[in-house]
Structure formats: C-alpha cells, structure tokens
Amino acid sequence: MPIISAELVRSGGMPSAAELEASLLAGHTLLSNTAEHLIEVVDVLESYGQVLDAYSKNLIFQAEQQFLLPFPLFKYLDGDKTVAKIWRHLNHDRINFEYAEYCMKAMLWHGTGGLDAYLDSEPFAANCRAIIGRKTRRDPLLALLHPVFRGFLIELIRTAATTSALGQFWRVMSDLFLDLAAAEAAGRVGSIDAVVEFIKDGLVAVAGNPITYAVEIEGERMWVLPPEAGLTFLADVAVPYVEAVFLRGLPFLGTVSFNAQAQQISPDQGQFAYGALYADPLPSMGAGIPPSLLMQDMYRHLPERLHQLYRQRGRGEGDVRVKICMSFQKSMFCVTNAAIRGTFPSPLSSGDPAEQAANRAYAAAWASRLAVARTDCLD
C-alpha cells in the first residue's frame, strides 16, 4: 500500500444524524463558529446576493416581457438589445442566466408545495384559458399550436409562473444577503450564530409576503398568479425552492455519470439527493445543478477579502471555483439552518412534552436528510 501524505487528502468530520439532530434541538449552528467560516459565509453570500440580483431581474424580465414568445432569442439581454450588450453576451462576458433557469426547472419538475398545487388547480386553468384566448387572437403561430397541442401553452404558462415566483423569491434573498454583508461590515454580525439568526429573522419577516404574477396582453393586465390564490413567500415558494434546489436537485452527467437503467437514480423523486447541499464542489458534475455555472458568476463579484483568502489556500487562483463552491455550501448550510430554526413547530425552549416531541420529530426528519449531505465542510 502506498504512503499517501495526509496533506493531500482531507475528510471532514461528517457528523451523524443523531449529532445533527441534537445540534438542531440545542439551538447550535450546523457550521462551526470560526473566524474564517464567518468571512467565507458573509462574503460568499454577498457575491451570491449580487448574482441573485441579476438572476432575479432577468427571471422577472423573462416572465413579464418574454411571455409565450415562441423564440425568445434575447431573453438574457434584459431588454437591452444594443450591439455592445449583444457582443458582451456572445463573448460570454455575462452572468450565466442558464443557472437560474436550471433552478426554475428543478422547482417546476419536483413540484412541491402550494405553488405547484395552484398550477394544477381549476382557477389556474381558467386563467390560462383567458390568457390563451386573448393571446391567440393576434398570434397565428400560437393559434395554430394550441388546438394541436392542448397542453403546450399551459405548460409554458406554468413555466413562466415558476420563473416569476423564483425571481420574486430571489429578489428578497438578494437584498437579505447584501444586508447581511452590510451588517457584518458594520459590526452587527460577528459570529456564525448571528449570521443564522440574521437570515432567520429576514425570512420570518417576509414569510407572509404575497407572491403574485400578472402579464400584460394587448394592453390588458391578466393574472397568472392572482392575489386570491393566497400564495405566500415562505410556504409556497421558499420551502419548495429549498426542497427542489438545496435537497433534491437533478443528476447531471459529467465525468461521474449515472445509469438510470441500473437504478443508480432513484425512480422516486422524493429520494433524490443531488441538490446544492449534496453537490460535489469538484467540478466532476456528479451531482446537483452544474455548480460551475454559479461559481463562475460568483467569481465575478467576489469581495476582495474572500478573494485574498482564496489566494492563500490550495492552488490560489487555479482552483478558486472549487473553494467558492465549498464556501457556498457552508453558507447554504447556514441558510438551511436558519430555515429550520424559523420553522420549528414550537419554540425550542418549550417545556411541553408534546411540543418537544414534535420538535424532535421535525429535527430528526431534517437530520436524516442532512446526514448524507456534504457535511464534511461543517467542522
């Protein structure tokens, strides 16, 4: 057996499900509280906030301005069709908006929570009929397509609705993460626990915000997700987003590939574990949404303090995207931590045995899923 230097290969602590459960119930943070972790999490969330700002604007632009366009050639240009913008786009001097679309598709496909339920409801179908009726009046291509493929335009409207919902969700998260960076710079956030608490407070504050979506067709404003649908930020969009993007994700082929016929991919979508919390930071593209796209985008907006830290670690600039991904996973554990903390059935300080049991069951359910995630980054 060869002698392999311990410096070459490191494996993290990888806590068990029981340890994670105990940690959640005790109100401890999943990520250990170190000065370097704080820099990584705050700075990577700052760059993520800036990227989410761009994603959010584009998703909302797509949902509102590119609605039912059969060939949305300029959907990534945010309405700016100048030669300079097109050149920058073609030269790939741009944000990878494709990543945002992957996330949207993951949400649409996994389809959990209130938004998905509404997209399959009769009121939504009625909205679609009205929209399609008006849209096909002056659009011969759609008028031809709709009778032949009855479900096609409805599915496009579902896609547009999910696009808009994700755009609205990320609008809030972008502001939250940029506020977090400002709070840390101002000295109001100085530990991982404070980061988790800041995010939890931010999520709780907007939990009940309504999610609505309307499009303008021939001068008339028509609802796709009307206020009366009662869709709210946390329950109907944030939780399905976490389920679809953080946890389940989609398996992508890369140097590590999956054979669905050999049952390497579970036929049960609920068992999927390819999300951001499970993704391999090494760009083998073995799991999750291609992380390299998001890492490229965050690299464009990396705060100098974090960039400086990365230059001193590993291969410096050479493997910077891997390091961004590792920091990103740490930050996503903090966000997950905040979401769990904010959605416990009862306060953790409760002395009621029934409430304690409910909290324990809730923590155990999360811990069992997180135990097989990339918890090696937590210590």
Partner: protein
Amino acid sequence: MLSLLLLIPFAGALLLALWPGRPAEGRMRTVTLVVLGLQLAWSLVVLARFDPANSAMQLQESLPWVESLGLEYKLGVDGLSLPLVLINAALTLVSAICTRDIDKRPRVYFLLLLVISGSVNGAFLAENLLLFFLFYELELIPLWGLIAIWGGVNRAYAATKFLIFTAVSGMLILGAFLGLALLTGTADFSLTPITGERLAMGSQLLLLGALLIGFGIKVPLFPFHNWLPDAHTQASTPVSVLLAGVLLKLGTYGLLRFCMGLFPEAWALLAPGLAIWAAVSVLFGSLAAIAQKDMKRMVAYSSVGHMGYILLAAAAATPIAILGAVFQMVSHGLISALLFLLVGIVYRKTGTRDLTVLHGLLNPERGLPFTGTLMIVGVMASAGMPGMAGFISEFMVFRGSIGAFPLATLLSMVGSGLTAVYFLLLVNRAFFGRLAVTPPIDPVVHGRLDVNLAAVAPRETIPAMALAVAVFAIGLLPYGLGRLSEAASTAMVQLPALAAAVYSGGLG
C-alpha cells in the same frame, strides 16, 4: 566528425568531474544541459551531412588501437544507427531537463548521465565488434549507479538484478564475438557477414544463439525480461526515460546489426522460431501489463510487448519490416519516454503510482488535467492510433511480416489490441471519475474527500509536450525518417544474397 559525438559528452563528464569546489546542483545541471544541447546540435549536423540515398556506412573514422587484439577505433553511421543517435541526444537532454531536486551528489549524477549518453553514441557508431562491446559495457556501471544511488526504496535489489542480468548479457555477447574470431580464425572483429563457407551452420547457430540471448536480455524479450520492471519501478523518472527510450534500443540495435547482420544465413534459418518468440513476447508483455497495479510497471511491461514487434520485423527481414523496426525503435523511444515522464509527474504530485488508489486525475481544477491529456495522447500513440508514431511503425512491421509469418503477425496484432486494453484501464482508473488518491474503502467518505494536489507548473510539462509533438510529427510526416533509413534497411535485407554472392565470386 562522428568522434565529436563521443567527445562532447565525455569531455562534459570530465569537466564536471574536475569542476573545482562544491558547485551547486543548478550549475551542474546547466553545464549538463549545455553539453547535451551541443551533442544534439552536433547530431543534427551529422544528419545534415548524411546522404540518405547511400546505404553504406558514412562519415567513417578509423584509427588503429590495439591491433594485435583486433580492436580498432572505427566509427561510421548509416540509416539504422543515425535515428538512434538522434534519439539518444534528444532523450538524454529530456532526462536532464526533467531532473529536479537531486538531493545527493548532483555532480556524480550528471556526470553518469553524460557518460551513458557518450557510451550509447559509441555503441551505435562502432564499426568494430570489440569497440561496440566496450561501449556496451561502459554504459552499464553508470546506469547501475543511477538506479542504485538515486532510485526508490528497493533500489539496491533492482540495481543488482539489473547488473547481474546485463552482465550476463555482456558476457554472452563478448563470448560470441571471441568465438567468432576463434572459429573463423580471423580476429578483425569487423561487421562483415559470416557465410556457410567461412563457418559451419552449427557453429553459426551456436554463436547466434549466444548473441540472441545476450541482446534478448537487453531488449528485453520474454523470458529474459525479469530485470526491467524492477529497474523501472525503482529508477527515478529521468533514468526510466533514458532506460526505456535509449538503452533498450541497444538490444534491438544489436539484434539487427549483429545477429541479423553478422549471421544472415543462420538468422534466416531461425527466423520462423524467432517470429513465434516475438509473438510470445508481445502477448506476454501485454497480458502482464494488464495485471499490473503500478502505473510504472504497466508501462515497463508494455515495453516488453512493444520490443517484440522489432524481433518480429527482424525475423521477417523484408525491407518494409526492417524499416518498420527502425520506426518502432524511434517511436517506442519517444512514446515510452513520454509515458514515463507523465507517470513521473503523477508520482511527484500524488506520492503514488498505485492504480487502485488514483482516481479522477483529469479533474480540471484540483487534478492534473494537462498531464492527463498528454497521458491520453501517449497511450493512444502507444496503442497505435493513426496519425501518431505508433501506428506508422506497427503498420509497417505488420505489413512487412504478415506475408512471411502470418500466424506470428496476427498474434502480435492481438498484442497491439491488448495495448489499448491495459492503457485504457490505466486511463480509466487513474484519470476518469471522481478525483481521489485513496483506496475506495467507504464510497461516502471517498466521494467527499477534499483533495489538495499541488498544481503542475507549465515548465514541468514542456519536455512531455515536446515528445508529444514529436510523436505526432512522425505519425503525420513519416517521410523524413523513412527516407533516412530506407536505403539502409533495404540493404540489410539483401545481406544474405550479397554475402553469398561475394563469397561465391558471383560479383567478381
């Protein structure tokens, strides 16, 4: 002219030996690089002066030395030896370039490197059997030293094994040369072919047998290959480059120049058996390579297999086969040197060559992606992919030998196919999949390892890149090398007829 090819490296070695004080490793390396650069430049001058249309020895130099023993300082170059002289100059330079961090006795290290290069040039250029033997033996001790002093953990074992095997090889060769003088009654030790009229076939077979075993050890051919995998495994990367790229060629050169060249009639008699021996060697080398877990041993066994093609070509003794043999010597020199360089980089970065431990080294950010890319180029070349040097040589060998020995050729082709098998195993295990440098005991832990390999600096891959370019150059433009060696290889094939005609007065 040719003497300078000996004088430059030997004078360089002397310069290093007499350098005053305790010079730094960097200075020794620079001096060696300058000397080897000069040697390469002068080899190119010889190439420029060489007339490819002339099949005879050219640029000859001769000086009586110990006339009573028949030892004459006589040098010459032809289309068989010139490519090998060039590859010696190029690969010694490559091995000096890729020598880094010599922790002990850098002066001796570089001195031995120069002595080896000079001796190899001497052996390739010698036109006298004893002179060849002198240089053949002169290269042994420095190489033994390079393995024994700068080798791996089991270097003493590997170096001793190498020394014993090659010393036996040397004894057999010297015995055959002396036997030749004794039995023919002439002690001129020239390269004149022996015919049945000068020496009975039984004696010819005896002497040829000794030479075959002697050079068979050096090549090495099955079952005399045993020393090579150990020597490679324990030798440092530059020494492996030299060993595979240049020193093994002394064996194949000996087979062509002395076995086939001196005993054309006996050679023709033994040829069917030699072809089968070649096929067995090819298949054995390939199958043994498949079973290896150490990357370097795998490449070493691939050498055993690929050297078999040269014996097959020599046995067939058709013009195209002999030309193929020359191509194979050059292309194997380049490809095996390339592969050893790359294995060396992997070993330096990961500390292991174990194929059960290495995974996913092609990883773009944390792995060794460019090294992996070059490795894929190298294994494709070795497996005989068209457009690369390996294809041209194997194609010519097989094309030249299939008419004479169809069964042996077909079996050798199977060996060529097996090359793809073991090298794809190597690439698949070490370079594809999730990056890791540990045995996959627990898949969950394995998939989460944070691997921190040092990056490969561009300068570290420059020698390998140069070799890869040469592999493509010969594969895409084989005409240059073909033109260089065509006349000589055609003349070698006509030796039996020529020799018979000379001695029967047919040409008179």
